[in-house]
Symmetry: D2
Subunit: 142 residues, 4 copies
């Protein structure tokens, strides 16, 4: 597959107070949660709800996480998380992310994650076609 | 003052995956964060933004927190946090909360918090009139 | 039963940086996590490991949480969480807590929780005797 | 400089219940917090306490975070976080991490972070010699 920024999805929300640290900025450990929120938004919007995958007995386990921090976010700021699929593999999906401050459009954070499909015993499995198929169709991947 | 559920504000959002625990439900330590999100929504909606209070050199420090857990919330569920002011004191505010699942209207959690006004040295102070005044006017409190 | 501060257990650790907020103090939503850490310490120390209860198919679900915040904790400070059983009920346990700063002995937080025993379907159940019995024996409760 | 695993420090603690998610494992966003705990342990143990750097008016801001997840950790497991300095730069420090389960020695997670020194205005600055000097001496770096 080769599509660029496949199924790009945006979700916008306010920074929570509890997400700040004593430097007065959003603590870095919060961004993986923002990314996950982005994946949830993507799967809801494109009718591949992650909760459905879990009902089928599978999960997407994170195998790799990379984040670059360019500028801090602050309490009460509106931020947008952009999430897209970079690559669909037989046993996993790579996602890309950007976090942008709404007020001035500043790019705060970029990131990538690699998710692999595992069953309830934690074994790596092929992504179930019933879940990934509609997504491929939508994305124009045969 | 005597108003009932003063400045009642609702904010609705999805439960995040990271907020669940191995019991498959939202971990109880997340509800204080939901309550805080409710207070932020209330202060934004009623033009008493908490960030403005912080700019004035004050904070609302939590002095008491009480929560009753009636039913669990789950990943991806839409929930509504209802937040209101129960009482305005010279040096603090008492808030009340309900968390409700949108799908079936089930009441999940109720709570109360007591916030006291402190300055940057952590000393208890009267709430600045410039911040609390407009709110009292709006609420019909002289 | 009537024992005072039954199975009182102490656990001491450093405040984590991520636990602070922009007020420069430990965010209040962290204390329920400290309390839980206290319960884990109690159950490990008194051979009633919570993980064993979970293996039996039960959980202790929080039904009520009350916290009073007296003074703030800060990053890198050593704090001690004191945890004890206030009351053993047929279907639950009430715990009490104190959080104390080691350096000066200042009492930072007090709290209580009510835990009820639930099975994997979330139904309220009697505490399994195999788990609670040894604890009662140890505590001198018939 | 070229030292291997400079100032390698270990800290061992139990996985907290709140750190698990509905997959029954430690949520991936917790590992950056474990890494930070590792850095705190390193700075305490080697007399370069991070709190002292903050008192000097500086912070170490995270500019990059990379994590590989090899196997999951579970509630109540004892884990050891190994933390070391990979490189000291004029304006920052690169750290490396391993998280290992104590019971069987399994390697769970590896990671790297890049920290840059910033002042209270968020400007990038040289690491203050009063703070980094003793560390270089200890590490045998001129």
């Amino acid at each position: 597959m080769a599509a660029d920024r496949l199924l790009l999805t945006e979700i916008t929300f306010h920074v929570r107070f509890a997400e700040t640290d004593q430097m007065g900025i959003v603590h870095h450990s919060v961004y993986p949660v923002y990314f996950e929120e982005g994946r949830s938004a993507l799967s809801r919007q494109h009718e591949m709800p992650y909760s459905k995958l879990e009902q089928m007995g599978y999960s997407l386990a994170l195998s790799e996480l990379n984040i670059r921090f360019l500028a801090p976010a602050h309490y009460d700021e509106l931020i947008t998380v952009q999430t897209w699929i970079e690559r669909i593999l037989s046993r996993g999906i790579n996602f890309g992310y950007k976090v942008v401050r709404v007020a001035d459009g500043e790019l705060l954070v970029t990131g990538q994650t690699q998710q692999i499909c595992v069953d309830r015993q934690g074994q790596v499995r092929r992504l179930p076609e019933a879940w990934i198929g509609p997504l491929k169709t939508k994305a124009g991947i045969e």
